[in-house]
């Protein structure tokens, strides 16, 4: 309750700050201009000409209107409406415009009412599905007379014959109708921006135009345009404030998604909810299965997810069937990928030359005769390849009467651009819904996926394939003349080709995600829904290490087989009651109350044994291994549970003011009984300014919609692992000791982590102010400013090493502030009916600051090759900033040398000057100043073209590979930049003198490792062609599309490492972001494919 009280005052403050409210309107549908000049032409020809030039179609009864009557008529670049009005005037016909349909009728001759007299018009407004449109405005043009439709979509208004009625409703195009009779029926067209698109916002849906929080959505086409395994990868650059970074370019490699900055040092990944089921990862899901994807960015939007939504929520709905003719669709693509690598290293000649020079300086020269001087191995080239990628997908969907269904099957396979890595995945999905009684609907969503991933030790600091490929000298042959693998005669760096060759590691995953739900209408306004879902993940891990010898250090003397199984089951039962009612014509209320229970259990079992007699696949099982003493087995398990109570009210007044209030109370097993429950409220308001009379009077016709919104909310976070409030004892194998003669093994048990039974919920409090606009009937603009404070951050409190615990207690001590600005604009336009185009731009700038770490201390991260830590997290700085010594160029003369030697006693001319060799400083930040995306597309008839660019600006990369590539104290393959080393004749350089000893420790962690990480790239380019209707109809195929797509077409960057997209090498740690240890780089992918609808 404390949270609630504390924040009440801030709520009031915020409310007073805000005038929130919203929007939705639409000017008349875009109407083509008509050019026409006819003499003695039949009416039907004139009408069809107008149809061609406008988007209207004419409907009339041939019995009452003679379409063959001859007339003369002309119009010069005149709006179609005017043309029709004049034409009907000339012919004394009545007409009414219904959406895109114009109905012509004979003017009633028997109408005795003088035209000037008002009469009562009764009308009904429906949408294209025939459902009544509630609370639509009906305005009498040129007057202040207006009314609103009721629950049946009906209205009554007084008007004169010939008056124009304007019908406006949010999410629909405004319709105009000329009053011709006392009874009218209007069908509204969907708005161009689809503002009535229902957004899933958690336990319900809301119209896009009614959203009061910060919510972004992406079209499913944009998700499937890219050749990616998982939808999160396709989100890169799409939304302002949603930063997606691949931690590895490996197929199935981890992706880090951060919504509005890194809110917490704990798990800062968003919550993924698929069809109402929270899931740990969406990599099991085929992107083609996604019908809609929404990102809830601010607290007011995600608060309904309470504890789970602190880092934002990504809501996904999978495809459902629709009543009507069943559809079969197929789409598939195949393509190739190649490595993106900017790095440049010395070749054999340059390497040999450098080593010869270094040898002259070595106290014990190395024997360069051992080097294969004429061998020039490009190790990165040797381990990489042009790799294939495929994706095939079939869906069948449909429905009859009360049953709908959608079923799909998909297969995805991707070979890695680094040899020895690959991934394939098979997915099956079946969604169905049935209205079993008039008041009862049941349904299920069920997905099954099975994947297999082959991996190598890619990022291992010492022996990782990429890291060794970067370091190993070019004179080592991949294989010797006798067929054995080559090895460095000088240094213990593994031959990466051999590492891949002897690597045999696989993970197979099976994932079942499904739920069954029941929805019952209790009354017209009240319904209940209950759903039970399960997410079950089974991982089957396999690893085999054969006996081999490449070098004295790259060898394995006894073969080893390891197998492991891990099963995680999460079940969720949630029940909600919804109440929707419109009071009068101005008050609309939606209320929701719910209860959820959730439980997760994980259990694993790993075993290994040495001495497999041969490499035969049939013998790679534990029982085949013969060294009984080597058998080892481990197994762990954990459980967690949550109970939540939630409630939300959406209220709308007069379609001008919207308010959303939600409250959620969560209880988690991760806290002790006393601190188990916490309450998280949120409020948001929106003001649709353009629905105000005063705004209409301003006659700002170019403004179609204008909505401002503001929200405030608190959300909890409990992603801290289980049992952290308990003092857990550990019996690591390492804690064994041996006593006695003969030797007997004793197991040691101790508490390695400090416990804190007082831990409670971490709270993320965020404030959001936003603006949504539609202008000129084509420009959509969204802008948001937010401040997100993570308070009581559950932090493994930094403790000094002298306390002797491996980890400090998890304590609610930290706070982090992320604040930022997000902007997105989209313009959609048409040059002609056949040529449409759109351009989108998004931009986000996020500032990240640690505002408290409690009782002092800082968090070090990203250990770099024996050189200490590359990052530090301190109050007043961003999370995981780069931390090292500041340099001031090279020692160029005796004077500088004398000065430098005071603090650097072993310095020589040409060594690096360290500004303060005893104090490290912030030397860079992995967090960009801003990120952006640009989306361009155009379509001409069936031909479509789209290009999507993304970029980051102002971040730094800590190029940890320089610990080797800039290091001349061994035989490492150096970066090409090293050739420009300092010498008395080459002083204009920032590369220090050649030294085999580096007695000045030029290689200590400093800003010499820091590089500009900005990049701008053409992320995706696609050209597609829809076969013309004339052809496809002959083939009896409703849709046939072929496309060619390319990803990562080009990247502009100054980064000299392999590729500037650097995530977290150690994927769980936010303290190692932007540190390039030789990370698996990204690839360029070119694919071609087809899409067919039967």
């Amino acid at each position: 309750m404390k949270n609630y009280i504390v924040n009440y005052s801030s709520i009031k403050r915020i409310i007073s700050l805000l005038l929130a409210l919203v929007l939705s309107f639409h000017l008349a549908a875009q109407v083509g201009k008509v050019n026409l000049k006819v003499d003695n032409t039949p009416l039907k020809t004139v009408l069809s000409e107008i149809e061609k030039q406008s988007e209207y179609t004419f409907v009339y009864s041939p019995n009452s209107i003679n379409s063959n009557q001859i007339l003369s008529f002309s119009a010069a670049n005149e709006p179609a409406e005017n043309v029709v009005k004049r034409l009907c005037g000339q012919l004394t016909l009545n007409y009414s415009i219904n959406g895109k349909q114009i109905t012509l009728s004979i003017e009633e001759q028997d109408n005795k009412q003088p035209q000037q007299n008002k009469f009562t018009v009764k009308g009904v407004v429906r949408d294209k599905t025939g459902e009544p449109v509630i609370a639509a405005y009906v305005l009498l043009s040129g007057s202040n007379v207006r009314t609103t439709t009721d629950l049946k979509g009906e209205f009554v208004i007084d008007a004169k014959r010939g008056d124009i009625l304007e019908i406006r409703a949010m999410s629909y195009k405004t319709a105009k109708i000329i009053v011709a009779s006392s009874s009218v029926s209007i069908q509204l067209e969907d708005d161009a921006f689809n503002l009535d698109e229902l957004l899933v916002v958690g336990y319900g849906t809301v119209k896009k135009s009614d959203v009061t929080g910060s919510v972004a959505s992406i079209k499913s086409e944009d998700l499937t345009k890219q050749a990616v395994l998982s939808a999160d990868q396709a989100l890169q650059g799409r939304f302002p404030g949603v930063q997606v970074t691949s931690n590895s370019g490996s197929p199935g490699g981890a992706v880090s998604v951060n919504i509005r900055g890194i809110g917490t040092i704990n798990d800062s990944q968003p919550l993924y909810v698929v069809d109402g089921m929270p899931v740990n990862s969406i990599s099991y899901l085929n992107t083609n299965d996604i019908a809609s994807l929404e990102v809830l960015k601010d607290a007011s939007a995600s608060a309904i997810y309470g504890s789970r939504g602190a880092n934002g929520v990504i809501l996904i709905s999978t495809r459902k069937g629709k009543t009507g003719e069943s559809k079969i669709s197929f789409n598939g693509y195949s393509g190739i990928q190649n490595i993106l690598d900017n790095s440049k290293y010395v070749n054999n000649v340059q390497w040999y030359d450098l080593q010869t020079k270094l040898n002259a300086m070595r106290s014990t020269p190395i024997d360069l005769n051992k080097a294969n001087k004429n061998t020039n191995t490009d190790w990165l080239n040797e381990i990489s390849r042009v790799a294939a990628i495929h994706n095939y997908y079939v869906e069948v969907s449909g429905g009859k009467e009360d049953i709908t269904f959608s079923a799909s099957g998909g297969y995805f396979s991707q070979d890695g651009i680094i040899k020895g890595t690959s991934m394939d995945r098979m997915t099956l999905r079946l969604n169905g819904e049935s209205k079993v009684r008039k008041y009862l609907t049941i349904g299920t969503n069920l997905s099954y996926s099975q994947s297999s991933r082959t991996t190598i030790d890619e990022n291992g600091e010492s022996w990782g394939v990429l890291s060794t490929a970067v370091r190993l000298e070019p004179t080592v042959p991949v294989k010797n003349a006798d067929g054995s693998f080559g090895a460095s005669p000088f240094v213990d760096i593994n031959n990466p080709v051999a590492t891949i060759y002897y690597s045999d590691a696989k993970t197979k995953a099976q994932n079942i995600v499904g739920n069954a739900y029941l929805k019952a209408d209790i009354t017209k306004n009240l319904f209940i829904r209950t759903s039970f879902g399960v997410d079950m993940l089974t991982n089957d891990v396999y690893n085999f290490i054969p006996v081999y010898t490449v070098s004295p250090t790259q060898k394995n003397v006894e073969s080893k087989i390891s197998r492991g199984y891990e099963k995680t089951i999460n079940w969720l039962w949630e029940s909600t009651i919804n109440y929707n009612k419109i009071f009068g014509i101005k008050h609309s209320l939606q209320a929701l109350a719910g209860y959820t229970m959730e439980s997760t259990r994980m259990e694993n079992l790993y075993g290994s044994k040495n001495g497999v007699p041969s490499d035969l696949p049939s013998l790679k099982y534990i029982d085949a291994a013969q060294n009984a003493g080597s058998a080892a087995v481990t197994g762990t398990a954990w459980e967690s549970a949550m109970i939540s109570y939630l409630g939300r009210i959406n209220y709308s007044y007069d379609n001008r003011y919207l308010a959303t209030v939600s409250v959620r109370s969560d209880g988690s097993s991760k806290f002790s009984t006393a601190n188990r429950y916490a309450i998280f409220p949120s409020f948001s308001l929106a003001w649709k300014i353009n629905n105000e009379m005063f705004f209409k009077n301003l006659k700002l016709d170019f403004v179609d919609d204008l909505k401002v919104r503001a929200g405030w909310g608190q959300i909890g976070n409990q992603n801290i692992g289980n049992y952290k409030f308990l003092s857990v004892l550990t019996n690591y194998a390492q804690y064994r000791y041996i006593f006695g003669t003969p030797e007997t093994l004793y197991q040691g048990i101790t508490a390695v982590n400090m416990a804190n039974d007082k831990i409670k919920w971490e709270t993320s409090e965020s404030l959001n102010i936003g603006l949504d606009m539609t202008l000129f009937n084509g420009l959509n603009v969204t802008a948001d400013y937010f401040i997100k404070d993570t308070k009581d951050m559950l932090l493994t409190e930094p403790i000094p090493m002298f306390l002797g615990f491996e980890n400090g207690p998890v304590t609610n001590v930290g706070s982090v502030r992320n604040s930022g600005f997000e902007f997105a604009a989209t313009w959609r336009g048409a040059i002609s009916e056949n040529f449409t185009y759109s351009a989108g731009f998004n931009f986000a700038s996020i500032k990240n600051r640690v505002t408290s770490l409690g009782r002092g201390g800082s968090l070090s991260g990203a250990a770099v090759f024996n050189k200490g830590n590359a990052t530090n997290t301190m109050v007043g700085y961003p999370i995981g900033m780069f931390w090292g010594y500041e340099t001031a160029g090279l020692i160029q003369n005796q004077e500088q040398l004398t000065a430098a030697r005071i603090k650097q006693p072993s310095a020589q001319l040409g060594d690096v000057i360290f500004v303060d060799p005893s104090n490290k400083k912030m030397i860079g930040s992995p967090i960009p100043d801003f990120t952006y995306g640009i989306n361009l597309s155009c379509a001409y008839k069936g031909l479509e073209f789209s290009a999507f660019f993304d970029g980051v600006y102002g971040n730094e990369i800590f190029n940890a590979t320089r610990a080797y590539t800039y290091n001349t104290s061994s035989t490492f393959k150096n970066d090409i930049a090293i050739l420009n080393y300092w010498s008395s004749t080459n002083t204009n350089t920032n590369i220090p003198r050649l030294t085999p000893t580096d007695s000045n420790d030029n290689m200590r962690i400093s800003d010499r490792y820091i590089e500009d990480g900005s990049y701008f790239r053409l992320k995706n380019l696609q050209i597609s062609y829809n076969l013309p209707a004339a052809i496809v109809s002959k083939l009896n195929i409703p849709g046939f599309r072929i496309f060619v797509s390319a990803q990562n077409v080009f990247t502009l960057t100054k980064y000299t490492g392999m590729y500037p997209e650097i995530g977290q090498a150690l994927s769980t740690s936010y303290l190692s972001r932007g540190v390039d240890y030789g990370n698996y780089p990204q690839s360029r992918i070119v694919t071609g494919g087809i899409s067919i609808n039967f």
Binding site: I522, W638, Y735, R736, P800, G804, E806, L859, S970
Partner: protein, 500 residues
């Protein structure tokens, strides 16, 4: 129907609300502190955990990396990369980022923490629970370990935070305590341990490897020596001598102290126990002796890390039997290693490897770098004799000083010293320590303790070694190593760095 629906929901909610127990999830697969120290086995396991930090690679590797490599006996060898890691340290241009410092600091304190947990947990237990083990003996062992780890830290860093009980989060702001207070705490722990620990013979062979009464007196005598409390040092060492030769006796063959067959032998007062543990595959977390691997010559699955300087080896009397047992030369290897496995010696920078940490080919079968079972001696009776001799010399008991010096010399096949007394005798005893304890990670501290570092490191023969050419000893600074940089960075100013 509708009423039934409502009923279902209402019922559902009621059932759910009664599930408050639903959120009580028990720890699976591990014990919690609340349910520990209930049985004798818990007590043993708790002490065992504290011992385990001794054989943490990071701990024992830091012993020779400082005690030998930084001294005038040895240098870091191995690959260029390995050598360069030590470059600045060997030049006494100390840098606080040097990984071995953090290793030593971190793991020593972990051992202390675990010892505290054991001491407090076992002390609170009912003595009636102990049937097979002795409650006091277990507490005494933990106190010995706590004292030993503090002593290791004290020698490296000087004033350090003293951990007297299991740390609480509020201890986070603790500062370094004066050296005298650290010594006082170490003395107190060891004195208490001598009240609790049993003699090696009482514990029997099934408990070999545990800290005994002898271990505690031996360490206490060494601590007194560092404090220059010679009377106390002499008396403490005498306690061991008085136990008689049935309890402790010099091995007839010096090399028995360093081979697999004679581990925890008659001369041993305390050593770090290793075993061949094939189930662990990390060089950090292994239970095998990674230090031995790191020092063995390169073609034999080693790195050849810690090599003796020719300027030191040449000081040995050629008749000294310890020469062969202390150093391993290429010529030695020709007779020990089969020609096939000998290959070419890579990075043999001085010609002298550490024979005291060397596994014979017959014991290396199927061995990888993490499965070497060879122990590391920490205190031997020979050292106790030399401590006793040094303390006697400093307390004007030249007779006993010579007697115990000569016991060590005689075993080495060297003539007795019958003439020296006073300062000259003291110097001879120090010299003997250097030979007797060579490659046992003690020399650097001896130089500092006796104030002989400046002299040793300006010696021209020493400076002639290529890796020592840049060594500049800074009296008043170089005696103490820098506190690990991360500890300074993270201490919020509470931990002040040593002058570098």
């Amino acid at each position: 129907m509708k009423k039934i629906n409502i009923l279902i929901i209402v019922l559902g909610l009621c059932i759910a609300s009664s599930c408050s127990k639903f959120l009580d999830k028990e720890m699976l697969g591990a014990q919690t502190s609340e349910a520990f120290f209930q049985t004798e086995n818990d007590a043993v396991a708790s002490v065992t955990a504290s011992y385990s930090d001794l054989k943490d690679t990071r701990f024992h590797r830091s012993l020779w990396s400082i005690g030998d490599v930084l001294s005038d006996n040895c240098t870091q060898s191995g690959s260029d990369g390995d050598v360069n890691t030590f470059k600045r340290m060997e030049s006494f241009d100390y840098h606080a980022d040097f990984g071995r410092l953090a290793d030593n600091w971190r793991v020593s304190y972990r051992g202390i923490n675990k010892a505290c947990q054991a001491i407090e947990g076992i002390t609170a237990m009912d003595p009636a629970l102990f049937k097979k083990y002795d409650k006091n003996q277990l507490i005494g062992e933990a106190q010995f370990l706590r004292a030993y780890f503090h002593f290791v830290l004290l020698r490296n860093f000087g004033a350090i935070p003293v951990i007297r009980s299991t740390p609480k989060i509020d201890d986070k702001g603790n500062t370094r305590e004066p050296v005298e207070d650290v010594y006082a705490f170490i003395e107190q722990d060891l004195k208490e341990a001598t009240q609790k620990l049993k003699k090696k013979s009482e514990l029997g062979s099934s408990n070999s490897g545990r800290a005994t009464l002898g271990s505690a007196w031996a360490l206490l005598s060494k601590v007194y020596l560092y404090e220059k409390k010679y009377t106390e040092a002499r008396d403490a060492a005498k306690k061991i001598i008085d136990m008689g030769e049935t309890e402790y006796k010099l091995q007839d063959n010096f090399s028995y102290n360093f081979d697999l067959e004679h581990e925890n032998g008659i001369e041993s007062l305390f050593e770090i126990d290793f075993y061949k543990s094939p189930t662990e595959t990390s060089n950090y977390l292994t239970n095998g002796n990674y230090s031995c691997y790191a020092q063995m010559p390169r073609p034999f699955a080693g790195y050849g890390g810690n090599q003796a300087l020719p300027s030191f080896v040449s000081k040995f009397d050629p008749a000294d039997k310890r020469l062969k047992a202390t150093f391993l030369t290429v010529a030695d290897m020709q007779s020990i290693e089969t020609p096939v496995s000998l290959g070419t010696l890579e990075y043999n920078r001085t010609g002298y490897y550490n024979r005291k940490q060397y596994l014979l080919p017959k014991d290396r079968v199927g061995t990888t770098y993490f499965t070497i079972p060879l122990n590391i001696p920490i205190i031997r009776l020979a050292e106790v004799y030399l401590i006793y001799a040094e303390a006697c010399a400093k307390t004007n008991d030249n007779v006993n000083a010579r007697l115990y010096l000569n016991k060590v010399r005689l075993r080495a096949g060297l003539p007795e010293n019958l003439t020296d007394s006073g300062d000259a005798l003291y110097e001879k005893i120090l010299q003997e320590r250097r030979f007797e304890l060579a490659m046992e990670s003690d020399r650097f501290y001896d130089l500092i303790r006796t104030g002989k570092a400046a002299q040793a490191f300006t010696d021209s023969q020493f400076r002639a070694n290529p890796t020592k050419a840049n060594a500049v000893w800074k009296p008043g600074k170089s005696e103490l190593l820098p506190i690990p940089q991360t500890e300074i960075d993270n201490s919020n100013g509470n931990i002040v760095q040593n002058p570098i």
